[in-house]
C-alpha cells in the first residue's frame, strides 16, 4: 500500500486477505443486554460514544437555533424566554453531557487500561454504573427540556435561580448532580487504575502522556465535582423551602453560591481540556515519528494545571462584588495557570522539529487544535487581567474565548482522537480524503463563527442577548454563516464514520505505526485486551523499539 517514502505512514494490511479478527470485544457476546450489562471498559466506551454523540447533536441543534435567532437584530424567531431556554440547554448539555465526559469517558475509558497493560479498569461495575448515572442525568435534562425547559443559564446564578424563575430548575439541578456523580466515578476509576493496575515495567514515566493528562483531569473530577454537588443541593433546598443562604434579603450572600459553583466549574474547564491535550500528545508524536519533546515537562505541566486550576476560580467573579484585594490575588494566580499551557504548546511544536511528518486526518485536527487553543488561551489572558476583564467580561468576547478553548480546543482534540483510534476501536479505516475535507471545513467554519465574536465582544455586545442593536448585525451574520459551515463540518464525520463501520478498509493492528501498547494488540481488541500480561521494557514513544520489533517479526515470519 505505502510507497517507500510516501506522504503517509498509513499502512493497511492487504485488503484481499485481511479480515477483522474472529474473536474481539464487539462480537464476543451478542444481544442488547450483553451491552447494557457489560463490564468491559471498551464496550462502556462505545456506549458513552453513542450517548455523548446523541447529546452533542442536541446541544448543537440549540446552538444552531441560537445563531439563527441572532441572524437579525430583532427578536423575530422565538420569544425571549424561549431563547433563554435555548442557551441554557445548549450550555448544560454541551458542558455536563458532552465536554466533561467526551474524551475521558470514551477514549479514556477505551484506552487507559490498554495503555497501562491492564485487562480492565479497576472497578468495571462502577464504570458501568457511571454510564447509567450519565444516562439518568441526560434523561432528566431532556425531561426538564420537554416539561417546559429551564432558563437559568448553565451557571444557575443566585438569587435568579432560587427565587425568580418558575422553570424546571430543580429537575435540571438534579440532572447535573447525578451526571456529576458519573464524572466522579469515572475519575475515581481512572485514578485507582493508574495507581494500581499498571503492568510490570510500566513506571510513571513510561506512561503515555494521554494517561498523565487523564490522571490530572481525574484528580479534578474527584475533588471538584462534590463542591458543585453541594452548591446545587443548596440551590434546590433554597427553592423548595424558601430559606435564604443565598438570598440577600434574608441575610445570605449570593456570592457564596458563586464561590462554590466556580470552585468546581473553573477546574471543570481543565477537566474538559486536559484529556484533549493528552490526545494531542499522542497524535503529534505518532505523525512526526518522534518522542514528545520534553516528555517530563509535558507530564508535569498537566499536573501543574490540575493543581493551579483550583486556585483561580474567582476570576469568573471579578466584577461581581468580590473584594478587590482578593481579585488581585486571583488575577495573579490566573496568570500563573496560563504558563503550563504555553509550555505544552511549545513542546508539541518542537516535537515536530527533526521529525518525519505526515498529515493524516488526526494530525490536521491536532494542528487545528494547536492554533485555536493558542488563540483561546491567549485571549484568556485578556480576561484574567483585571482592568481588561471589566470591559470584556459578560460580552461576546468571553463567548468567543471559551468556544476557542472548548470547541476549537477540546472538540478538535476529540475528533483528532476519534479519527486516530477509530481503526483500533472498530478495526476499520474511514475514507481519508473525506475526513481531511471535514477537518478543513471544521477549521474554516469554526474561525468564521467565532473570530467575529471577539470583535463583537470588544464592541460591547452582551452575551445571552436575544435582540441586539442593529450595528452589530454584519458580524452576527458572519458568525451565523460560519456556524452553518461548522455544522456541516460536524455532520460529515458522523456520516463517513458510520459508513466505515461496514465498508471501511480493514485497518490491521497498527495502521499508524504507533508505539503505544494499544497498537500492539489486534483491532478491535479482545475482551481481555491482552493474551498475556505485557511487560513494558521501553520508554513511551520509542520508535526505535517499534522498528526493531517489526524487523524481528518479519525475520521470524520470514
Amino acid at each position: 500500500m505505502s510507497a517507500a517514502i510516501g506522504n503517509t505512514i498509513l499502512s493497511l494490511p492487504d485488503q484481499a486477505t485481511a479480515q477483522i479478527p474472529k474473536r474481539n470485544y464487539i462480537n464476543n457476546e451478542h444481544g442488547l443486554l450483553s451491552w447494557l450489562l457489560t463490564g468491559d471498559h471498551k464496550r462502556i466506551a462505545i456506549l458513552y460514544l453513542i450517548s455523548i454523540t446523541f447529546f452533542f447533536f442536541i446541544g448543537g441543534a440549540f446552538a444552531g437555533l441560537i445563531r439563527l435567532e441572532l441572524l437579525t437584530p430583532q427578536p423575530d424567531l422565538v420569544a425571549a424566554d424561549t431563547y433563554n431556554k435555548f442557551f441554557t440547554m445548549h450550555g448544560i448539555i454541551m458542558i455536563f453531557l458532552f465536554l466533561v465526559p467526551s474524551v475521558p469517558a470514551t477514549l479514556g475509558n477505551f484506552l487507559i487500561p490498554i495503555m497501562l497493560g491492564a485487562k480492565d479498569l479497576a472497578f468495571p461495575k462502577i464504570n458501568l454504573l457511571s454510564w447509567y448515572l450519565y444516562m439518568i442525568g441526560g434523561t432528566l435534562t431532556l425531561a426538564a427540556l420537554v416539561l417546559g425547559g429551564v432558563d437559568t443559564g448553565w451557571t444557575f446564578t443566585t438569587p435568579l435561580s432560587t427565587h425568580y424563575l418558575n422553570t424546571h430548575v430543580i429537575t435540571a439541578a438534579t440532572a447535573i448532580f447525578i451526571a456529576g456523580f458519573s464524572s466522579i466515578f469515572t475519575g475515581l476509576n481512572f485514578i485507582v487504575t493508574i495507581h494500581r493496575m499498571r503492568c510490570p515495567g510500566m513506571t510513571w514515566f513510561r506512561m503515555p502522556l494521554f494517561v498523565w493528562a487523564h490522571y490530572a483531569a481525574s484528580l479534578l473530577m474527584v475533588l471538584g465535582t462534590p463542591v458543585l454537588a453541594i452548591a446545587l443541593v443548596l440551590v434546590a433546598l433554597e427553592r423548595l423551602f424558601g430559606i435564604g443562604v443565598f438570598d440577600p434579603t434574608k441575610g445570605g450572600d449570593p456570592l457564596l453560591f458563586q464561590h462554590l459553583f466556580w470552585f468546581y466549574s473553573h477546574p471543570a474547564v481543565y477537566i474538559m481540556i486536559l484529556p484533549g491535550m493528552g490526545v494531542i500528545s499522542e497524535v503529534i508524536s505518532t505523525f512526526s515519528r518522534k518522542r514528545v519533546f520534553g516528555y517530563t515537562a509535558v507530564a508535569f505541566s498537566s499536573v501543574a494545571i490540575a493543581l493551579f486550576g483550583f486556585f483561580v476560580w474567582e476570576h469568573h467573579m471579578f466584577i461581581m462584588g468580590v473584594s478587590n484585594y482578593s481579585a488581585l490575588v486571583f488575577s495573579l494566580l490566573t496568570m500563573l495557570v496560563a504558563v503550563p499551557s504555553a509550555i505544552k504548546i511549545f513542546n508539541w511544536a518542537f516535537t515536530l522539529q527533526k521529525g518525519s511528518i505526515t498529515f493524516e486526518t488526526p494530525m490536521l485536527y491536532a494542528f487545528g487544535f494547536m492554533g485555536l487553543f493558542t488563540i483561546g488561551g491567549l485571549t484568556g489572558v485578556f480576561l484574567g487581567s483585571l482592568g481588561m476583564d471589566i470591559h470584556l467580561t459578560e460580552t461576546y468576547f468571553i463567548v468567543a474565548h471559551f468556544h476557542f478553548v472548548m470547541v476549537g480546543g477540546m472538540l478538535m482534540a476529540f475528533l483528532a482522537g476519534v479519527h486516530f483510534w477509530w481503526p483500533k476501536m472498530t478495526g476499520r479505516m474511514y475514507p481519508e480524503s473525506l475526513s481531511k475535507l471535514a477537518a478543513v471545513t471544521t477549521f474554516i467554519g469554526f474561525n468564521l463563527t467565532f473570530l467575529p465574536q471577539f470583535i463583537l465582544g470588544y464592541l460591547g455586545m452582551p452575551r445571552r442577548y436575544h435582540a441586539y442593536p442593529p450595528e452589530f448585525q454584519v458580524l452576527n451574520v458572519l458568525s451565523t454563516a460560519g456556524a452553518t459551515v461548522l455544522g456541516i463540518g460536524y455532520m460529515l464525520p458522523m456520516l463517513y464514520l458510520a459508513w466505515s463501520l461496514k465498508y471501511g478498509a480493514i485497518a490491521g493492528d497498527n495502521p499508524w505505526q504507533a508505539t503505544g501498547l494499544e497498537w500492539q494488540i489486534q483491532s478491535p481488541p479482545l475482551t481481555e485486551n491482552f493474551l498475556e500480561t505485557p511487560i513494558m521494557d521501553h520508554e513511551a514513544y520509542d520508535y526505535e523499539w517499534l522498528t526493531n520489533k517489526t524487523k524481528k517479526e518479519v525475520t521470524t515470519v520470514g
Binding site: 479478527p21 495507581h195 494500581r196 499498571r198 503492568c199 510490570p200 515495567g201 510500566m202 513506571t203 510513571w204 475533588l223 463542591v227 456570592l255 464561590h259 470552585f263 483550583f310 486556585f311 476560580w313 474567582e314 468580590v322 473584594s323 478587590n324 484585594y325 482578593s326 490575588v329 486571583f330 493492528d509 497498527n510 500492539q520 494488540i521 489486534q522 479482545l526 491482552f530 493474551l531 498475556e532 500480561t533 505485557p534 511487560i535 521494557d537 520489533k549 524481528k552 517479526e553
Partner: protein
C-alpha cells in the same frame, strides 16, 4: 497475536505493579478499646469545656479536640497508621483542598470590608 510480550527479569526493580503496597496489619481489639476509651474521654472533656467561659479559647479547644478525635479515628479505626504513603497522601490531599476552599474564599470575605473602591 500481534502483541509480543517481552520477558525480562521478573525481579526487575522497574517492576512497579505494586510499589505502593503496605503489609496488611490487623489491629487488635485491645487497641480498639484504648481508642474507644480515649474518644469517650475526650467527648466528655469537650462537653465540659463548653460550659466554662474561656472567651475565644472555647471554639479553639472544641475544634482542637474534634481534630484530635478525628485523627485517632482515621489512624486506628480506619487503619491509616498502617497504610501506604499513597493512602496517607490521599487523605492529606482531601483536607488540603478543603483548606484551599476555605482560605481562598476567605480572602474575599475578610478583605471586603477593608475598603470600597
Amino acid at each position: 497475536m500481534a502483541h509480543e510480550a517481552i520477558h525480562t527479569d521478573a525481579n526487575d526493580p522497574q517492576n512497579v505493579t505494586n510499589p505502593e503496597h503496605a503489609q496488611h496489619h490487623i489491629v487488635t481489639p485491645l487497641q480498639y478499646t484504648y481508642v474507644f476509651a480515649t474518644l469517650l474521654f475526650f467527648t466528655g472533656v469537650t462537653v465540659a469545656a463548653a460550659y466554662v467561659d474561656l472567651k475565644w479559647a472555647n471554639p479553639v479547644i472544641a475544634l482542637a479536640i474534634a481534630c484530635f478525635k478525628a485523627v485517632i479515628v482515621i489512624l486506628f479505626f480506619m487503619h491509616v497508621a498502617y497504610q501506604s504513603r499513597l493512602i496517607k497522601m490521599t487523605i492529606g490531599a482531601g483536607f488540603f483542598l478543603f483548606l484551599v476552599l476555605v482560605t481562598m474564599t476567605m480572602t474575599d470575605y475578610i478583605s471586603r470590608s477593608w475598603g470600597l473602591w
